[in-house]
Amino acid sequence: MTASVQAKHPETAAVPSAPAASERQWPDQVYDVLKAAGISHMSYVPDAGHTTLIRLFGADPEVVTNVLTTEEEGIAIAAGAWLGGKRSVVLMQSSGVGNCINMLSLPVHARFPLLVLVTMRGEWAEFNPWQVPMGQATEASLKAIGLRVLRAETGDDLVETVAQAAAMAFDADQQIAVLIGQRLLGKKKW
């Protein structure tokens, strides 16, 4: 999947300051910017679009990772990590956003920094109709509970968006979800 995405969205031209990035794909670059932002803790419910990030963080001895049974666990774990001085990121698919809503009252009300990366389903070349309702409700649900929502549709834009979202989350005490467009992720292959 990512190979075809790379072909559609070459990273070369837009990142002149990072020549090495031209040969790398956006998940590797997102990992780099999260590391540069001081992330040392990560929780996830797997999604195909997060495969590379999960692998890179899992192999990183400086990062504590947690596999979750349901997405809202990651919201509470991230708050605990911040209490203890660590910066955490939570990875999930759009279907998992619905599971998180009440737990998000914790970071919203107590103003915990929160950075969530959401891979989108149900919005672009979706083959599974069961993904459409929550995919269409994702952004509105997050905004309704009080999160800042950012979106990216290209690899370059995503890397830049995640970098600035991390700054806003951890330096400005914001609760931010970055939605990774299904157009960027590509059609799911069976």
């Binding site: 947690n66 809202e72 666990e73 509470a76 774990i77 708050a79 605990g80 990590a81 001085g85 009252s105």
Partner: protein, 195 residues
């Protein structure tokens, strides 16, 4: 079949008197009041909401502070909402996280409706099945005294103890509702910037 139960405030006070430098997270409702009643401290983090979050906040905190012990004190209703967290915590396998379930077998804040734990679900058994390193059900204050000694010993992994407490609504001892302030003073206690 009425098995013995214990006074929740006395039990919690015993655990907290023996805490030394242990960081404490409390679940919403009466467990927050019990911990507050034993004395408000900056190394307590109280929940007034986010039901199902207590044990998991404890996990994140334990992972961020591996040199300190973390104790989560919550109720059966709050923990029932985070049933899967026992699997997540067991897989994460922190050696510095203890879960104390104050189990009155009821949803005490909402009118004392009977909960799952009064109908056969035992959190100590669930946690043992998940792979917690130590679990037990306690029914007396004498057993809590013994537990306080056991908690000082190093653990191989996460531990969970069910304290069967009397189902009663005691006078509330309300922790601060300003969650930003409680968060900031907790971080300041650990030497972190509060933003």
């Amino acid at each position: 079949m009425n098995l013995p139960t214990m006074d929740r405030r006395v039990a919690v006070k015993k655990l907290l008197d023996a805490r030394a430098g242990t960081l404490v997270v409390t679940g919403l409702g009466s467990p927050s009041y019990d911990v507050h009643a034993a004395g408000d401290r900056s190394d307590n983090y109280y929940l007034w909401g986010a039901m199902g979050g207590a044990a998991l906040i404890g996990l994140g905190l334990a992972q961020a502070q591996p040199e300190k012990r973390v104790m989560v004190i919550t109720g059966d209703g709050e923990q029932l909402m985070a049933f899967g967290s026992l699997a997540t915590i067991s897989v994460a396998r922190p050696k510095n996280l203890d879960l104390i379930i104050l189990d009155n077998q009821h949803f005490g804040e909402t009118g004392m409706q009977s909960s799952h734990t009064g109908r056969g679900i035992g959190f100590d058994k669930v946690a043992a099945a998940c792979g917690f390193s130590e679990t037990a059900e306690l029914r007396s204050l004498e057993e809590v005294d013994t537990l306080c000694d056991e908690l000082r010993r190093p653990a191989e992994g996460p531990r969970l103890f069910v304290l069967k407490i009397t189902a009663e609504n005691l006078p509330r001892s309300l922790p601060p509702r300003d969650a930003v302030e409680v968060k900031n003073r907790f971080r300041a206690h650990l030497g972190f910037a509060t933003c």
